[in-house]
């Protein structure tokens, strides 16, 4: 199954929020929708869910306009939204039935998901008696109880401790592996890198970058080499003095040495030269920019980019 967001325009009054954005998301994989605060991520998600219509453009599923009556969508909103003073099982049942589930099936599903997240003992408790992390888990249950084909997670990891984050990560991975479409938004780039095969970066109402993360990283220059070694100083001297015909410069990033080559093909020559000199190193490889770096590059202000 393929979800296609096709040339969506949306404005609220005079203010244009989305200016013709398009991207694809496929079942069995997660799509990361990235962007700074106010970039239009939540608006895009709401349009997909049909909370309000776009000014123009379409949401397509397998090439046809989305039929929300027959396609179940699970949503975890960024601003957590459930009844604070209602028992958890009661409100989950309510949500599930609103989405068209039969009472018995809904109860089974709720019990299963609460157990899966280790929350079954809280079933009859009121939501506001739970800790923030546990409330977050309930929120995820609310998104997943109807086994939706499309799962939209807006900042699912905010405010979670590492243990809860791991539990949540496992569940999200499970959902992806079950062949559903997962649309994912987060500011925590490590999570995005961990889950998402592809990303779309939204900036000022436009998609400024989209595609598979691996392809995006490959598209960057491959002439910067990362070397990890006990003898970084020795290697740096060697590169600058002896290998100046293939090396144009060196630099440091934390405990790694970055070596810029004249051309990517020179990497073999570099490795051979280092081996010939019997210089020991732990690892050597092509330096790929992190997602955070790419994100800043596309969405940062000029000052932030140069920093």
């Amino acid at each position: 199954m393929e979800l296609r967001v096709d040339r969506i325009h949306k404005s609220f009054g005079e203010k244009g929020v989305l200016e013709g954005i398009s991207f694809n998301a496929n079942s069995g994989s997660a799509m990361g929708l990235l962007g700074r605060n106010g970039a239009g991520k939540t608006t895009t998600m709401r349009i997909i869910m049909g909370v309000f219509p776009p000014n123009s453009g379409h949401i397509l599923v397998d090439g046809k306009p989305i039929d929300r009556k027959n396609m179940s969508i699970g949503y975890l909103p960024e601003d957590r939204g459930l009844y604070p003073k209602q028992p958890i099982d009661k409100q989950l049942l309510y949500l599930s039935r609103l989405r068209g589930c039969k009472t018995r099936d809904a109860k089974e599903s709720i019990a299963r998901w609460l157990k899966r997240l280790g929350m079954e003992e809280y079933a009859s408790k009121k939501l506001n008696t739970l800790s923030k992390g546990n409330q977050q888990k309930i929120q995820l249950v609310a998104a997943l109880i109807n086994e939706p084909e499309l799962v939209i997670l807006d900042e699912p990891f905010s405010g979670l401790d590492p243990v809860n984050a791991t539990i949540l990560k496992d569940v999200v991975k499970e959902v992806i592996s079950e062949g559903r479409i997962v649309l994912f938004s987060s500011h925590q780039m490590n999570y995005v890198e961990e889950f998402c095969d592809s990303i779309a970066i939204l900036h000022n109402g436009k998609i400024v970058l989209d595609g598979k993360i691996s392809d995006i990283k490959r598209s960057y220059d491959r002439n910067i080499i990362t070397i990890r070694s006990q003898d970084n100083d020795v290697i740096e001297d060697f590169c600058n003095n002896t290998l100046s015909d293939i090396v144009t410069g060196t630099g440091r990033m934390r405990d790694e040495l970055l070596v810029t080559l004249r051309a990517p093909e020179e990497m073999n020559s570099l490795v051979s030269a280092l081996t010939a000199q019997r210089i020991e190193f732990d690892s050597i490889g092509i330096h790929e920019p992190s997602l955070a770096e790419i994100f800043v590059q596309y969405t940062g202000d000029e000052e932030e980019k140069s920093a």
Partner: protein, 422 residues
């Protein structure tokens, strides 16, 4: 439809299932039962008292005749006021001695009759519900009349029959008796007014809670706003109606159980003697009038982001209800329920539930006017319900300062245009 039912039953149970709701309802029913059974309870208590040895102590009054029988003598007062529980004792003493005796507690009161229509009463304390002076004066006046008529040779018996003569009249009402209908109309209008203010705000706060807790965001992505709006308003309203029906129903029940004690209390009798047709009219205007206001409350509540803003935003609706109530109340008190303002108000849906019902109950109104008013009311209720659902959908997106009415209209138009385009 199924979703509407889901929302409806959730919202209904949300209130009807609450402990506070049950306690309040049962508590009010108990209070009503007690109040309406008071005469029966009072009688039971006094019965119990009367079973005790029958020697009720009479209140002792010191009687000093300073007018030599011109204002009635000891025997006359003893006879006249024995039924009221007073016994008069005569002593040949003067005023200051009498004061001492009263002060010492020997007598409750002392009376010095100084003329045919004059007396001095000496009392230690006079309680709030003291009736001695009144009864004494009545007796004294009666004695005066007897003696005066006696001077013309009319006997005491003849005097009594002349003075106690009464008129028997039969009134045949062709139209309506405003006096009789006044009380139940007043009460029903009052109940509607309170129901709108109380339960309407209940609906409003329920919507605002959903908004501020952002549960609305999940709801609106799970179902359509119309089901949410109608389910919510109908569910909460039914819980409110149920509570009212239980309370009013129990009042009716306990009145009928104790009806024999109220035969001479005209007001209470007239309240419970509502004709069935009036009750049905009231039900019709009540249900739709209430729903109309509930939709207004719900739609406005969906515009606030925080509970603190709620009261400010819903104030116009509350005022609308108060104005409708005031117009009806003043017209009722003035006795002119068919004045021009009332006629106009009986076709405006926000005022017609109170105004038209009052006119039906107390005034003169053509049946086409009733039909027109009901049609406008039902149509407006549905229309406002649909509009409220649209505002509710908009409201989900609005955080921050609640928008002004013209902004809402602009947004609604823009939203509609986009929907049509799609």
């Amino acid at each position: 439809m199924k979703q509407l039912y889901t929302v409806f039953s959730f919202e209904f149970m949300n209130y009807a299932g609450r402990k506070s709701f049950r306690f309040l309802t049962i508590g009010l029913i108990i209070i009503i039962a007690l109040v309406l059974s008071l005469p029966r309870i009072g009688e039971a208590v006094s019965d119990a008292k009367e079973e005790a040895p029958q020697d009720r102590e009479l209140t002792r009054i010191l009687f000093i005749d300073g007018a030599e029988g011109a204002g009635g003598d000891l025997e006359y007062y003893n006879e006249s006021l024995k039924y009221a529980g007073f016994t008069f004792v005569s002593e040949p003493i003067n005023q200051s001695e009498a004061e001492k005796k009263v002060d010492a507690g020997e007598y409750d009161n002392a009376v010095i009759v100084t003329g045919p229509l004059e007396y001095i009463r000496i009392a230690r304390n006079i309680s709030m519900n003291d009736r001695f002076s009144y009864q004494l004066e009545n007796a004294m006046l009666h004695r005066y009349k007897q003696l005066s008529f006696g001077a013309y040779g009319i006997s005491d018996g003849e005097v009594d029959s002349i003075l106690n003569a009464s008129v028997t009249g039969t009134v045949r009402i062709i139209g309506k008796d405003q006096m009789e209908n006044f009380f139940y109309t007043y009460i029903l209008i009052f109940v509607l007014y309170f129901a709108i203010i109380l339960y309407g705000q209940l609906v409003a706060s329920s919507v605002a809670t959903e908004k501020s807790s952002r549960a609305m965001e999940l709801l609106i992505t799970s179902t359509d706003p119309r089901s949410l709006m109608f389910g919510k308003v109908l569910g909460t309203s039914l819980a409110g109606f149920l509570q009212l029906a239980l309370i009013l129903g129990s009042a009716y029940l306990f009145y009928n159980l104790n009806a024999s004690y109220y035969t001479d209390v005209a007001i209470i009798q007239s309240i419970f003697a509502i004709p069935l047709s009036m009750l049905l009219y009231n039900l019709l205007f009540f249900v739709f009038g209430f729903l109309l206001y509930a939709f207004l409350y719900a739609s406005l509540a969906s515009l606030v982001s925080r509970m603190e803003e709620l009261s400010t935003v819903i104030m116009p609706v509350t005022f609308l209800c108060i104005i409708a109530f005031m117009i009806v109340m003043f017209s009722m008190s003035a006795g002119s329920v068919d004045n021009l303002l009332m006629v106009a108000c009986s076709f405006i849906p926000f005022t017609s539930p109170m105004a038209m019902f009052t006119r039906i109950a107390m005034g003169d109104v053509a049946s086409w006017q009733i039909a027109l008013s009901v049609t406008i009311l039902i149509g407006s209720t549905i229309g406002v319900g649909l509009l409220a659902a649209s505002i509710y959908r908009l409201g989900v997106l609005l955080y921050g300062t609640p928008p002004k009415p013209n902004q809402i209209i602009r947004m609604l138009k823009a939203n509609r245009a986009q929907r049509v385009m799609r």
